[in-house]
């Protein structure tokens, strides 16, 4: 599956070239909210006023792609929580108004597939339209779905593939109590080296145009693998199996993109993964840019594609060991030691 175009709305200024060219926002608090584009220029006011943040930023990321790529045959999204703020508002209203009359907008905007539906309406796309909601592996399942769809489709079929997640104040507090976020404030550029429990909270929308046509592709998604509740041996075996399936050995990987989130309870998984590769293997982190949220592997794919295309050299925000433009990247992400995924991406040069 080839990746032809991409766009992201994230806590960094990713909807323009600003972030890619080296500008990097350092946050001093543990909530990394997205930097949003000016929606009034791209979304009619009558639609914008009803949109929750997840839908709004999803459309903000997707519309430029829809405008640049006329032929899109379907929409595949991944989101763990969808429009969380509206969902919680809606649920609270049931209690607040004693199960009386409820406003429809919060409900409509809270459904996970509100974004995919709204994008279909705005782009008049009547094709395949699916939203995957498999928690921290929602985007991985969306990729898998897109790969299978394109494999069975006629030549030059394209899909809009993406993921979105928003911060809700209610949910942030619940996750904070559950120990998912740090109790002390920490700057995002100090996240990776943090030695305490929990991470910092992020959000974002990242969109791609994927196709079975290799022309003008930016990257090729070779394969992906996911596993739930593994032990360390399971993960090592899965990695070996994954590499063998793709005719690779560890030395063939040029760069690892690692999902370290500064949570000392779970970052040891990344140490384990790196131990499966040569000691001089290059690696970079990405959650220092966007924080932790359940579908941020989409941002990792955005990051990987830019790296494959020679971007981010000498970027002041890059953390890790990164010198050479890679040809083959393995993205490894895990959520609380439970949900793990590998995404293998290559530069789309002729084989």
């Amino acid at each position: 599956m080839y990746l032809k175009d991409l766009s992201s709305v994230s806590p960094q200024v990713t909807y323009t070239e600003e972030f890619i060219n080296g500008d990097y926002i350092i946050y001093s608090k543990n909530i990394l909210s997205v930097i949003e584009p000016s929606y009034s220029e791209i979304i009619p006011a009558s639609l914008l006023r009803r949109m929750g943040k997840a839908v709004r930023m999803g459309i903000g990321a997707a519309l430029p792609l829809i405008e640049r790529n006329e032929k899109i045959n379907g929409i595949v999204m991944g989101t763990a929580n969808g429009g969380l703020e509206n969902c919680i508002n809606f649920l609270n209203q049931i209690i607040e108004y004693d199960e009386g009359v409820l406003t429809p907008t919060h409900f409509v905007q809270s459904t996970p597939n509100a974004l995919a539906g709204q994008l279909a309406l705005m782009s008049k796309n009547t094709g395949y339209n699916v939203t995957h909601v498999n928690g921290p592996l929602a985007f991985e399942n969306a990729i898998l779905d897109a790969m299978m769809f394109l494999e069975g489709a006629s030549n030059k079929t394209s899909l809009l593939l993406g993921a979105v997640e928003e911060i809700s104040n209610y949910n942030y507090n619940i996750d904070l109590i559950a120990g998912r976020y740090k109790l002390e404030n920490i700057a995002n550029n100090d996240l990776i080296t943090s030695q305490t429990n929990g991470s910092i909270c992020g959000e974002g929308a990242t969109m791609f145009i994927v196709s079975n046509d290799a022309n003008d592709a930016l990257a090729k998604i070779i394969n992906l693998k996911q596993i739930n509740f593994p032990n360390q041996i399971d993960l090592e075996q899965l990695l070996n199996q994954f590499l063998i399936e793709n005719d690779l050995i560890p030395d063939d990987i040029d760069l690892l993109i690692l999902g370290n989130n500064g949570d000392v309870q779970f970052d040891s998984w990344y140490v384990l993964l790196r131990s499966c590769f040569p000691a001089n293997m290059e690696y970079v982190y990405y959650k220092n840019f966007v924080g932790e949220f359940r579908t941020n592997s989409a941002f990792a794919l955005f990051f990987a594609t830019q790296l494959l295309n020679g971007r981010f050299h000498n970027h002041k925000g890059i953390q890790g060991n990164f010198r050479n433009t890679p040809k083959t990247i393995l993205i490894y992400n895990q959520f609380e030691g439970i949900h793990h995924s590998f995404i293998l991406v290559q530069s789309p040069e002729p084989e």
């Binding site: 006011a45 009558s46 914008l48 006023r49 009803r50 108004y97 009386g100 009359v101 409820l102 406003t103 429809p104 907008t105 409509v108």
Partner: protein
């Protein structure tokens, strides 16, 4: 609360409930049709208006025919509030 005060309060509620971005109460004309006018409200907004009247003023609109005669413009709604509010 006199009629003018009810009107001001209702316009503020209208902006909040319908999330009318970049619109101030002064810009909402009293006799301008809420639907098919500059505000461009639609059927979902009519449900939001029914919820607004129920929550803020204790007014329940159950009969659709009655609703169409009330939800015309700010004047018709405020007249109904003044006559029928229970809170």
């Amino acid at each position: 609360m006199n009629r003018e005060e009810v009107k001001s309060e209702f316009k503020a509620h209208l902006i909040t409930y319908l999330n009318l971005l970049d619109i101030t109460p002064d810009q909402i004309k009293d006799d301008e049709p809420l639907f098919d006018g500059d505000l461009g409200l639609d059927s979902i907004d009519s449900v939001e208006l029914i919820v607004l009247l129920d929550r803020e003023y204790g007014i329940k609109i159950i009969n659709p025919t009655e609703g169409r005669q009330i939800l015309i413009d700010v004047n018709t709604i405020v007249d109904h509030i003044v006559l029928n509010r229970v809170k």
